[in-house]
């Protein structure tokens, strides 16, 4: 297994008390696999990724429990210096907002080349040549001329390509993409997702795709984990999940998205709002919004029941949900 996250807990100390952002997350990614982490804002999907990358702001954040095994080695026991070596060469991250993730006062060529100078000890000239090569790889037109340009001189889609080039530069085994296309227009989003998927195949990288977009997930993911209030509520191969969700939250999400190919007048809407992470409801954290909730859901926290091989659901009534009762 390339990356294996086990029982990860992350909390934040805030003025209003302790925010429980991640409460026991387990997931794993293999080389060449795409794992989609699906969740709404506040689900803990990005915080988990930041913990894996080791870029969590501490304080206010704190990893209180868990292990993050990268090629069998627990990253949380490593010194910062050793982790830094893994960042970039072992795993890399692509952010949602490429404009703020790139340094505005350095040319893109310098930023791309920096990786080779720092990690590989290349000369400036060789690094520049590699930068052009990389920009070409991510299909930036006229790469040799544009290598001296600054981030703001590129369009949103092109900037995201530069971010991808940067993440790829040291050929990492794992890429974490946090909402990589959310800020992009739909036609550009398609270009960027295509590119990412193609590069992943080519380099046989593991890819963790963090998103809230059920459409993007359906297009590229092999496996999906659905997060809610800092926990994984469902984990399944992509086809199984879309065919028959085994958790009422997943089912609600799927039914509440308007679709191009289905026009109905009324959308299903999950009632209520996501929980306050300083005061997560007892029992199943989804119970106040769940149409299937019973008394047991208010008191007993559901474990991740094994639904079938490679599939889990944190719902006491996953059988009923799987067989699809109406809302």
């Amino acid at each position: 297994m390339l990356l294996d996250v086990r029982d990860l807990h992350v909390e934040f100390r805030t003025r209003d008390g302790i925010t429980h952002a991640v409460n026991g997350v387990d997931y794993a990614v293999d080389a060449g696999e795409t794992l989609a982490v699906l969740g709404e804002s506040g689900s803990g999907k990005s915080v988990t990724a930041q913990a894996v990358m080791g870029i969590l702001d501490t304080p206010p954040g704190r990893i209180t429990a868990g292990r993050i095994l990268f090629r069998g080695q627990d990253l949380l026991t490593l010194k910062e210096q050793e982790r830094r070596r893994i960042r970039g060469a072992g795993m890399a991250m692509i952010f949602q907002d490429a404009l703020s993730a790139l340094n505005p006062v350095l040319s893109v060529g310098d930023q791309l080349g920096e990786m080779f100078v720092v990690h590989r000890g290349m000369s400036r000239k060789d690094a520049r040549a590699r930068a052009v090569e990389l920009m070409d790889r991510v299909r930036i037109p006229a790469a040799a001329q544009r290598v001296r340009d600054y981030p703001h001189q590129f369009s949103g889609g092109m900037r995201q390509r530069i971010m991808i080039a940067m993440a790829l530069s040291l050929e990492p085994a794992l890429i974490i993409a946090d909402e990589p296309t959310t800020a992009l227009d739909v036609t550009v989003q398609a270009q960027v997702m295509d590119l990412l998927a193609e590069l992943q195949r080519e380099y046989r990288m593991g890819l963790i795709l963090i998103t809230h977009d059920l459409g993007v997930v359906a297009d590229v993911a092999d496996r999906i984990v659905v997060m809610y209030a800092g926990k994984i509520v469902e984990s399944a191969p992509v086809h199984d999940l879309y065919k028959a969700p085994a958790h009422p939250y997943t089912r609600g999400l799927l039914d509440s998205v308007p679709r191009l190919d289905r026009k109905g007048r009324e959308l299903y809407a999950i009632r209520g709002i996501p929980p306050n992470l300083t005061r997560i409801p007892p029992g199943c954290s989804f119970h106040p919004r769940c149409p299937m909730a019973q008394d047991v859901c208010r008191t007993d926290e559901p474990p991740l029941y094994a639904v079938s091989d490679g599939r889990g659901s944190a719902c006491h009534f996953w059988r009923e949900c799987l067989h699809g009762p109406d809302h």
Binding site: D194, P258, A269
Partner: protein
Amino acid sequence: MAPTTEPILEVGGLVKHYPLTRGILFKKQIGAVKAVDGVDFTLGRGETLGLVGESGCGKSTVAKLLCSLERPTAGSIRFKGEDITGLSGRALKAVRRNIQMVFQDPYTSLNPRMTVGDIVGEPYEIHPEAAPKGDRRRRVQELLDVVGLDPEYVNRYPHQFSGGQRQRIGIARGLALRPEVIVADEPVSALDVSVQAQVINLLDRLQSEFDLSYVFIAHDLSVVRHISDRVGVMYLGRIVEIGRDAEIYDHPTHPYTQALLSAVPVPDPEGRAHRERIILTGDVPSPVDIPSGCRFRTRCWKAQPRCAREVPLLAVPAAFRATPGPAAHPSACHFAEEAVPITPAPPREHGVNGDGPR
């Protein structure tokens, strides 16, 4: 493409150019951002017209023009036959009662220093004739109830609510003066998926309850299809194709619409390997320097020399004029042709992927 009901809003030749100037004290115009560059459409009573397009296509500027938040450079906006673009003072204030706006960002559209009661009640303070003073508090509470919030929350501040609830507060404020037209600019794009559906359903319900006409602006084609009766597709300041939702979504004839639709990810992994997709190359040109002729030609795989010379008009293409059918709707393309509907995707050996110049 005319609406099926009597028109309530008629927009003709709408243009908004923002001058680009240079100089510190004495400014010299050196160009213009052509945000909206000739837009025509009609909104029927009780109808929802969706406007879709990517960022920079001018859809939000259209919203501002409709609500008289910006003055158009040229063109007319007729509300029930009366041109409102030249109005000012009292007459403008009267028209504003009838056209209200719902904003995208529920975090900046509510004044953080005002209570919910003050926010929703402000329309009555500005238009005292709309409700007698003693009646206002009751009306505000009624409005909160209508949008699905507890009327007891009048004394709370916006930050105490979630994004979806704030959007409801914004909608209640928009409804206070009982407008006939609501212009909604990306009203759900800042919301989480599970909350988005609640707000879409609310807008749907309010439309029939209050006999509202909507101009619904969004970049999300699925949301627009869900809520709209008719849809206009915008590109670089113009509408390139307009028609009933089924005409646009199932029988698009403009290449841009076709590309846009094929790029929308479908939340269903079945058949994803076979889904045909038109990948557009390049980026949208700058609205300062719009290509000659057809403005889409720089990214279009069908472009011919003619496209650089002649501006295609938004009209039913000649090829479809003779045969009434779903493809016979206005489309601004010299080479309009009907593509195979993208969904459900028929399995194919090879898609049109390679057609676009990479």
